[in-house]
């Protein structure tokens, strides 16, 4: 089955070009040029992934991202013309999983899309624990005691990666490779922002984390 990808971009030429590239690689693109209609198109087309331009007429990309995230865990990849820290971080904080800075290569875009769409490895029934959090890997659920915690697939992958090797300290680069699928240098802010978001969901006190610990100067590790 072809994966359906919603491209939200007001630049028609770029949207069309992205469409050509995606179709070329066996995806089914759906387009939306207006931020205000993005949510409707999203609901009607039920895509497997959203490519979202940050600067949109009407409702801006960050708001669209927030709206989609409010009702779905679908992977969202932002297209940004600004690579300034504040914009990228704002985008990631509003719920995007990853971003591709303009101008990008077609191969780069496709790699990002594939990385987010990659069907999770065949998961054997497995239960992991970090601190008082238990993770059902096959069932894709996370809970503290009887309380279910809802995570996006990316946050789930991040948590599982840390929980599988609780003795290991993960550098940001290693996490980028294992969770995001980057083979080369990428923006470590992705890791920072998503760790913050993960903490805000699973920690009792995100200011004093117990589940995902920071190892100063190195990276992160699971709290035991």
């Amino acid at each position: 089955m072809k994966a359906r990808i919603l491209v939200v971009d007001d630049d028609e030429a770029l949207a069309e070009m992205i469409g050509i590239v995606l179709r070329n690689d066996g995806f089914e693109p759906v387009f939306c040029a207006d931020g205000a209609q993005a949510l409707d198109v999203f609901r009607s087309s039920r895509p497997d992934l959203v490519l979202l331009d940050l600067m949109l007429p009407g409702v801006d990309g960050i708001e669209v991202c927030r709206q989609i995230r409010a009702e779905s865990d679908v992977p969202i990849v932002m297209l940004t013309a600004k690579s300034d820290t504040s914009d990228v971080v704002r985008g990631l904080e509003s719920g995007a999983d990853d971003y591709v800075p303009k101008p990008f290569k077609p191969a780069e875009l496709v790699a990002r899309v594939r990385a987010r769409l990659r069907p999770g490895d065949q998961k054997a029934p497995e239960t992991l624990r970090i601190g008082d959090i238990s993770i059902d890997v096959a069932g894709h659920t996370v809970s503290r005691g009887s309380e279910r915690i809802s995570l996006t697939p990316l946050e789930f992958d991040l948590l599982v990666a840390l929980a599988r090797k609780p003795w290991q300290v993960f550098t940001r680069e290693l996490l980028l490779e294992q969770v995001w699928g980057y083979r080369h240098a990428a923006d470590t802010r992705l890791v920072n922002v998503h760790v913050q978001r993960l903490r805000s969901k699973i920690e009792k006190d995100p200011e004093a984390p117990e589940v995902v610990l920071t190892v100063r100067g190195v990276g992160y590790k699971a709290g035991v």
Binding site: M17, N24, T85, K102, P103, K105, H184, D187, R189
Partner: protein, 585 residues
């Protein structure tokens, strides 16, 4: 004198109290002392009031002491004169009584002597004077010496100063006096003893009459306490007046200081309150005028800078979107080039390559303009710089292999944690290392990392064509190329090193270059381990040890010079003096 004695006692007591107090309250006293010192340095008003008070206290103490001394002296003289005349009278009375006495038996003589002496004490309940009656020593004992000595209650001959006794004993019939201390009840009181001789029945006796100075002392004490209390009030009043006057003068000044501090802190709308037409008002008015024109200019600059930032951001967005489309299209065409005829194929290749170049140029330009607009921010976190170095070398390895050169890393084991923006450091190092590979002519490129307590240094050294010292001074200039003729053969936008320099400045680090024709070049990056820390010396050398050309102009960075400027100096430091080359910036 009485008051001297008392003053001495009081002084000693106070000194003891102060000594004991010091031991117990020393820390608190030190703290107060420091606070006062700070106050003294920082407050003109405090200083003025304190100085005035000190001067007032000093002058009052001098005047008070003089007055008090005069009064005490007069009181004492008056009482002394009275005591002397009373003594003269009483001694005469006693002598007269003794002379006319009938000496019969011992008991009547004793009674007579005692009655006579008791009469000297005066009538009534108040003892007016007391006496000490003592037979002169060393006289042959006459027949009727029935009385040895006699004194008023509580008194013995010991209250009479020996000097006085000596004077009385040695004189004929003269009267002498001396100050003394007499016990009255449980207390000691100041007194005057006046002595003379009397003869009774052939025996010579010393008779001392002792006058209590307590009343005079009380009067003196009262006068003194009034004097000191008045003085204290006066001093306080003077202090208050000084405080009020200085406040009137100082408060506009400190108000001006406060307002200018607020202005400096960016509260540009802050103004002074102007009242009246005096000097202070003029100061306020001109101050406000200055503030207003300052505010206007700053606002103008801020608006301009904001516009610039907006412009850069807009251009960035507007250019990047179409460029993305063009780039994707070029790549699609490029991927399909094998299906084209030769002309279209070559065109697709040219398009692809030039779009790449255009894009790197554009992104470098935008990066530079972001620095110029001052919107570049340091996103610093403590990270291991050795990992970044290793990562960059790993990334540069394929390029190095293409050039046939090798990248050698010389670094300490372990980790060097540096507070840095890893993205920017990665960019600087990639630029330096790729530059070294490109200009290294296939010879090895050495990367040296070393750290000190405060800084980390990374030197990237190539053995290639090298450059003139004058060129080394210019490599960080925008679009500068060593050899314009071969400018375009090696790629790059010509902005790489300028961006590296900006990234370094953002970290408060140094980026320096050294070069010599034919001996390669060395680029050194020095960063403080902690942001806000200073670098006094880079842990790695800029000028390699393996190159020495005596007498030629060399590039010696001045240690401690963190202005990221290249300083050209001659070999004079080690060799014969040679004129400094004229390229010295």
């Amino acid at each position: 004198m009485i008051w001297q004695r008392r003053a001495l006692i009081v002084t000693l007591r106070v000194a003891r109290l102060v000594r004991m107090g010091f031991r117990r309250f020393l820390p608190a006293l030190r703290y107060i002392g420091r606070a006062l010192q700070r106050r003294w340095r920082r407050s003109l008003q405090f200083r003025t009031v304190l100085t005035t008070l000190l001067l007032a206290v000093t002058s009052f103490a001098v005047v008070g002491a003089y007055l008090s001394h005069q009064i005490a002296h007069n009181l004492f003289q008056e009482r002394l004169a009275q005591a002397e005349s009373e003594t003269r009278y009483n001694v005469k009375q006693v002598q007269d009584t003794f002379d006319g006495a009938q000496v019969t038996d011992q008991s009547s003589v004793i009674t007579l002597v005692y009655d006579t002496l008791n009469a000297v004490e005066g009538r009534g309940s108040v003892i007016q004077r007391r006496y000490v009656f003592e037979a002169m020593p060393e006289q042959t004992k006459p027949r009727n010496r029935w009385v040895e000595s006699r004194a008023s209650d509580q008194l013995t001959v010991s209250v009479i100063p020996p000097e006085l006794r000596k004077a009385v004993q040695e004189s004929g019939k003269d009267q002498y006096w001396a100050s003394t201390v007499i016990p009255v009840g449980t207390e000691d009181r100041p007194g005057i003893a006046v002595g003379n001789k009397v003869t009774f029945n052939g025996t010579v006796y010393e008779l001392y009459l002792i006058y209590d100075l307590n009343t005079a002392q009380q009067t003196l004490d009262e006068i003194q306490s009034v004097l000191w209390a008045g003085g204290a009030v006066l001093v306080l009043l003077i202090g208050a007046v000084a405080w009020y006057v200085t406040r009137n003068v100082v408060s506009p000044v400190s108000h001006a200081a406060m307002v200018s501090e607020k202005l400096a802190a960016g509260q540009l709308q802050e103004r002074m309150v102007v009242r009246g037409e005096d000097e202070v008002a003029r100061l306020g008015a001109s101050f406000n005028h200055m503030a207003a024109s300052l505010q206007e200019q700053i606002t103008q600059l801020a608006t301009l800078s904001q516009m610039q930032q907006r412009f850069v951001s807009d251009v960035s967005h507007e250019l990047r979107t179409p460029l993305t489309t063009v780039r994707m299209a070029a790549e699609v065409l490029y991927d399909a080039r094998d299906e084209f005829d030769p002309i279209n194929k070559r065109s697709a290749e040219l398009l692809y390559n030039q779009v790449e170049r255009f894009q790197s140029l554009l992104s470098d330009l935008l990066e530079i303009s972001r620095f110029d607009a001052g919107v570049a921010v340091l996103d610093a976190e403590p990270e291991d710089i050795l990992q970044v170095v290793a990562h960059v070398i790993e990334g540069a390895a394929p390029v190095a292999a293409e050039y046939g050169s090798e990248i050698v890393l010389s670094a300490p084991a372990g980790a060097i944690i540096v507070e840095m923006d890893a993205r920017r450091i990665d960019r600087i190092l990639r630029n330096l290392i790729l530059n070294a590979v490109e200009h290294g002519e296939g010879k090895p490129v050495t990367v040296t990392v070393a750290a000190s307590q405060t800084a980390v240094g990374i030197a990237v050294r190539d053995q290639g064509i090298g450059m003139e010292p004058a060129e080394a001074a210019r490599v960080f200039d925008r679009f500068w190329r060593a050899d314009p003729a071969r400018a375009r053969t090696t790629g790059g936008s010509g902005l790489g090193l300028s961006i590296a320099m900006e990234d370094t400045k953002l970290h408060n680090g140094w980026l320096q270059a050294w070069g010599r024709k034919g001996s390669g070049a060395n680029f050194r990056l020095t960063l403080p381990l902690r942001q806000g820390g200073d670098i006094d010396k880079s842990p790695v050398q800029l000028e390699p040890d393996d190159v020495m050309f005596p007498g030629e102009p060399r590039n010696i960075p001045r240690e401690g010079d963190n202005r990221n400027m290249l300083v050209l100096e001659t070999g004079a430091a080690r060799l014969a003096p040679v004129p400094t080359s004229k390229e010295t910036p």
